[in-house]
């Protein structure tokens, strides 16, 4: 039996939809849509009622940080939840926060670190919203240890298309709980989430930079350290070939034990955690992307990667060093608007998840395919993962390699990139691998069952039929995958 509260009666309210261009974070997919930004649960219900009356489709969108089309809905309606961004409560004794869906990771850590807590799972940017993070079940650099974002969600309230609020937790409506987390906004809209944070004993982490001379060395380090390190992530230079193919710089970070870093006490001040906004106190970082744009435009990305790799040796010599949580985690926020360097075509991210046994060989094969076809990613990030109990999970016991690739405005080059990605996707799916919808832009309908397994897909479709029988929740992603 479900516990649902009666729908807020706001059916008659006119909803001011606005025509806007809604794109994925990578700026390469998306299109025009009617957008509304609700401020309250009542307004969400009113928007649902309005879309149902029109028989239209609705995409749920948080901060819009999904690289691909997970929160876009060409020529449809988009509900942008960034306006519902209050932290309703934070318990300093347990570190549990009650959040509206538009609360960002930044809002959450700003509140929690002042009390000695840090979110269990954070992404490489602090811009993402709680609703979006739960819907995509995002992971961080500690996925192999603490699992995905959903493992830190205690409970949530989900609004169904009819405007009912359904409370879900591991005990209550457990099937919906495990399907809505990672359910990419297909079952309902999170209106309130109860999120756990974890205790830290300093405002800083101890960080090591470790040079990995090739791909196998990267895997070796991951396997050696995953038992003791709290965070592991490797930047990989995907331009390197031959013996140094897959070389990179691994970052390991450990939390402090009580008493280990007395000076770290003062870094609980949220103002000391923020990523610095200037370089050397002078150059605003917002101005960096044009320089990076030039590197892309004039084909010097390989050189930039080489320089970064060489700088890794220096970092290794200076390790370990102390770094605030914010500075360690939010690398993508160091250079604001960095994605603009890929203008005008934008970028896609291709992030395959590969089982442990096949990982090294499959990922090597993918790098070779990219290099063969001339679509070398300008950035590669290798992480280790563990399975989780969510129905549509992307995580597995193995590794993932995030590959950021520039997209050309030239149609034939763009098509060639999509062909390369689909060839790589086949290699991954043949090996029993998976993909992550916050990143994907290229998979096809035929991949949906291969990716999740027939049982999971049948269960998910049954839940969709039960909670959203008219198929109101749709995105460009869900249509592409034939959900």
């Amino acid at each position: 039996m479900t516990t649902s509260t009666s729908p807020p009666t706001a059916d008659a309210l006119p909803v001011p939809w606005r025509d806007e261009s809604v794109m994925g974070f990578g700026m390469s997919v998306g299109g025009p849509a009617k957008v509304f930004r609700p401020q309250s649960v009542e307004e969400v219900a009113a928007a649902f009622g309005d879309v149902r009356r029109q028989g239209a489709s609705l995409a749920l969108r948080g901060a819009g940080c999904s690289y691909g089309d997970a929160s876009t809905n060409r020529n449809g309606h988009v509900l942008d939840l960034t306006g519902m961004n209050s932290i309703l409560s934070f318990d300093p004794a347990t570190g549990v926060a009650e959040c509206e869906p538009g609360v960002t990771v930044r809002d959450l850590w700003k509140r929690s670190i002042a009390h000695g807590y840090w979110p269990r799972v954070v992404s490489g940017t602090m811009q993402v919203s709680m609703g979006g993070a739960a819907a995509m079940n995002i992971h961080g650099k500690n996925n192999y240890r603490l699992g995905a974002f959903g493992e830190g969600v205690r409970s949530f309230e989900l609004m169904t298309p009819k405007g009912e609020l359904v409370r879900c937790s591991r005990e209550q409506n457990a099937d919906l709980f495990h399907a809505a987390i990672g359910g990419f906004g297909m079952l309902g809209c999170f209106t309130k989430l109860e999120i756990e944070t974890k205790r830290v004993h300093s405002g800083r982490l101890r960080v090591w930079g470790i040079v990995a001379k090739d791909l196998d060395h990267n895997f070796e380090i991951l396997e050696d350290l995953h038992g003791e390190a709290d965070y592991l992530v490797s930047w990989v230079d995907l331009h390197a070939t031959g013996a140094s193919l897959g070389r990179g710089l691994m970052h390991r970070a450990d939390q402090m034990k009580p008493g280990e870093d007395p000076d770290g006490l003062r870094f609980y001040d949220p103002a000391l955690q923020d990523v610095p906004s200037t370089i050397l106190g002078l150059v605003p970082k917002g101005w960096l992307w044009p320089g990076m744009w030039c590197a892309v435009k004039f084909g010097q990305v390989g050189l930039v990667n080489w320089l970064k790799f060489q700088a890794g040796f220096r970092e290794e010599r200076q390790s370990p060093y102390l770094q605030t949580h914010g500075a360690f985690h939010f690398l993508l926020d160091y250079v604001p608007r960095w994605q603009w360097m890929t203008k005008p075509g934008g970028l896609i991210q291709f992030q395959p998840f590969v089982p442990k046994a096949e990982g090294p060989q499959v990922l090597r094969r993918l790098i070779e395919i990219c290099q063969r076809d001339g679509h070398v990613p300008y950035l590669g990030v290798l992480k280790k993962h563990k399975p989780d109990p969510f129905l549509m999970t992307h995580a597995l016991d193995g590794y993932s390699m995030a590959m950021d690739i520039c997209v050309s405005k030239n149609t034939s080059k763009r098509d060639s990139l999509w062909r390369t990605c689909r060839e790589m996707a086949d290699v991954v799916l043949d090996a029993g691998g998976r993909f992550y919808y916050a990143k994907d832009a290229v998979l096809m309908e035929s991949s949906f069952s291969r990716l999740h397994g027939g049982d999971a897909v049948a269960q998910f479709r049954a839940l969709k039929q039960r909670w959203d029988p008219e198929g109101m929740f749709q995105t460009d992603l869900s249509r592409r995958m034939g959900v």
């Binding site: 318990d91 300093p92 004794a93 002042a114 009390h115 000695g116 205790r199 004993h201 300093s202 009580p258 008493g259 280990e260 870093d261 007395p262 000076d263 770290g264 006490l265 003062r266 870094f267 609980y268 001040d269 949220p270 103002a271 000391l272 106190g281």
Partner: protein, 280 residues
């Protein structure tokens, strides 16, 4: 911009030291006591008070943390002790508006943590006040907490420190005390009252070697100022660092950060008939 501001700060700071020395005698106020006794921080559950408590505990001092909100206060004291793996901080739930309780609580703290030789009074309330609002309830609370509370705690400390001929009192007022402005009449007045009281206390106590330092903070990022969008606000921890620096330097009055000395010099010297027409 910032560098320029920094230079003018230094100049005005030099002026201050000279002034201080001519009034109080050479370095009389500085480093009077070996800093190892218990500290009391009133208003320690958030903002500048919390940052001060953390820095004092980190320098291995016993810290009595006082604030009204029990859950927040206990959690912050526990966090300090956990992070340092040592029992430096202790929470004492106390409502500053309850001025009669100060003496008794001071005794209890000394009984539990040992002799106090440093008091930081950081508690303060700043309710939203509309331009046409004259609400005695809000005003009374500000006088009770910001002024009477400060008098109660500083009196309690002054009596003991005077008898022992050592100790240090740091009172956090505000740059808002320098002028009466249209925005918050009683906040300005309560802080001005506290500021003048601290000056009198300083003049009484320097003769027996007890230091009284007045801190006038400018824009600081704290929960109290969270809704105000203050440009150029400094982190609370930075404010705490500057306050402890002023304590160590034996300063009589310190603006935090220092550039506010210059800003307030200008604002103080705006003639009244001009000032009343401004919106600051």
């Amino acid at each position: 911009m910032m560098r320029h501001g920094g230079r003018s700060d230094k100049r005005s700071d030099r002026g201050t030291r000279l002034e201080l020395q001519s009034v109080a005698g050479p370095r009389l106020l500085a480093n009077m006591s070996p800093r190892k006794g218990t500290c009391i921080v009133v208003g320690a559950s958030s903002g500048i008070g919390l940052a001060l408590a953390r820095r004092l505990a980190q320098s291995q001092r016993k810290v009595a943390m006082l604030a009204r909100r029990e859950g927040e206060l206990e959690a912050q004291a526990a966090l300090i002790n956990e992070s340092l793996a040592n029992e430096f901080a202790k929470a004492y739930v106390h409502d500053v508006a309850d001025v009669d309780a100060a003496e008794g609580l001071f005794d209890r703290i000394e009984a539990e943590l040992g002799d106090v030789d440093e008091l930081h009074f950081v508690a303060g309330v700043m309710p939203e006040v509309g331009p046409d609002e004259f609400d005695l309830g809000k005003d009374r609370l500000q006088v009770q907490v910001n002024f009477l509370g400060a008098v109660a705690w500083c009196n309690a400390a002054a009596r003991r420190f005077q008898a022992r001929k050592r100790g240090c009192i740091v009172g956090v007022t505000s740059v808002a005390q320098d002028r009466g402005r249209i925005g918050r009449p009683v906040y300005n007045a309560s802080k001005a009252g506290m500021d003048t009281y601290l000056e009198a206390l300083r003049n009484r106590l320097w003769r027996v070697g007890v230091q009284v330092t007045t801190i006038r903070p400018g824009f600081v990022e704290t929960p109290m100022t969270a809704g105000l969008r203050l440009k150029g606000a400094i982190p609370a921890d930075k404010a705490a660092e500057l306050i402890l620096g002023a304590r160590d330097g034996g300063k009589a009055i310190a603006y935090v950060p220092r550039k506010w000395r210059l800003i307030m010099f200008v604002i103080r010297n705006i003639p009244s008939f001009v000032f009343r027409k401004l919106s600051i």
